[in-house]
């Protein structure tokens, strides 16, 4: 963990958490992360055990020899960690990036889905 912090400091670029919606649907969990300015190439999603790590590198907006007159967009990359539990199928995670919104679809394991038990009438 410590070495990671040092690495981050060496990069010397701030990272922020992106705005996120968490929605549960039957059989899956949707994570919607707002990452304006991140292209498909700059996106990195890793699953390490229980940790889901999402990194989004912003493409530089400003040209080399231009100067800011208004500067409100944070010059920071996106980084966040989520802890996912055992009910999520690690092999069935879909990611889609559209209009700067990353949608992660985490499917529940088949064994975790609710089952209805029918009662046989005799």
């Amino acid at each position: 963990m410590e070495t990671k912090d040092i690495e981050k400091r060496e990069e010397n670029k701030a990272s922020v958490r992106s705005r996120c919606d968490v929605i549960e649907k039957p059989g899956e969990i949707l994570l919607k992360l707002e990452m304006p300015g991140v292209s498909k190439e700059g996106l990195e999603i890793n699953i390490n055990g229980d940790q889901l790590e999402i990194r989004g590198k912003k493409d530089p907006l400003k040209g080399e020899d231009s100067r800011y007159l208004i500067h409100e967009i944070r010059d920071a990359d996106y980084h966040q960690l989520y802890t996912i539990d055992d009910t999520i199928d690690r092999n069935r995670i879909d990611a889609a990036l559209k209009n700067g919104v990353l949608t992660l679809k985490l499917s529940l394991k088949e064994s975790e889905k609710p089952r209805r038990i029918k009662i046989k009438a005799e």
Binding site: R19, K25, L69, I70
Partner: protein, 151 residues
């Protein structure tokens, strides 16, 4: 020619601004693009305006917004970007655990620098949730190369 105030290239507040940003990051402040004014009813998305040699560039963060939902107008020297971000319909059996994204109308108005030529073609591109406008400068405001003859 208009007189322009001398701008020091070293910004003495830069370190303070960075410190403010870092403290805000600790508390995750500034995540919401809240209405800025007292009577504002719209969300104001974050925006950058940069100047290059022959054009200005406006970049605006509009994640999750379709091209057809954005309306850009220029009146004189005033640029307005507005539109609506539609929420998704919630189906039965869906549970929302956390909602940090905003929906509803947004509007942002800025005054453009005097040297923008509003009559010329303005490029607007929406990519990866960022709207980029390229505003050309007036011919007389563009830098010209003057060669000095040595005799």
């Amino acid at each position: 020619m208009a007189m322009v105030k001398y701008r020091n290239s070293v910004n003495p507040w830069k370190d303070f601004e960075r410190l403010r940003d870092e403290i805000n990051d600790l508390f995750n402040v500034g995540l919401d693009s809240e209405p800025r004014g007292l009577f504002e009813r719209h969300v104001s998305p974050a925006l950058d305006l940069t100047e290059e040699a022959d054009h200005f560039k406006v970049m605006c963060e509009l994640p999750g917004i379709e091209q057809k939902d954005i309306d850009i107008t220029i009146t004189g020297k005033v640029l307005t970007i507005k539109g609506e971000r539609k929420g998704e319909n919630r189906n039965e059996g869906e549970k929302v655990f956390k909602k940090e994204s905003w929906t509803g109308s947004f509007q942002r108005t800025i005054s453009l620098p005097q040297t923008v030529d509003p009559d010329r073609n303005i490029d607007a591109v929406l990519a990866n949730g960022i709207l980029t406008l390229t505003l050309p400068k007036k011919e007389e405001a563009k830098p010209k190369q003057i060669t000095v003859k040595v005799e």
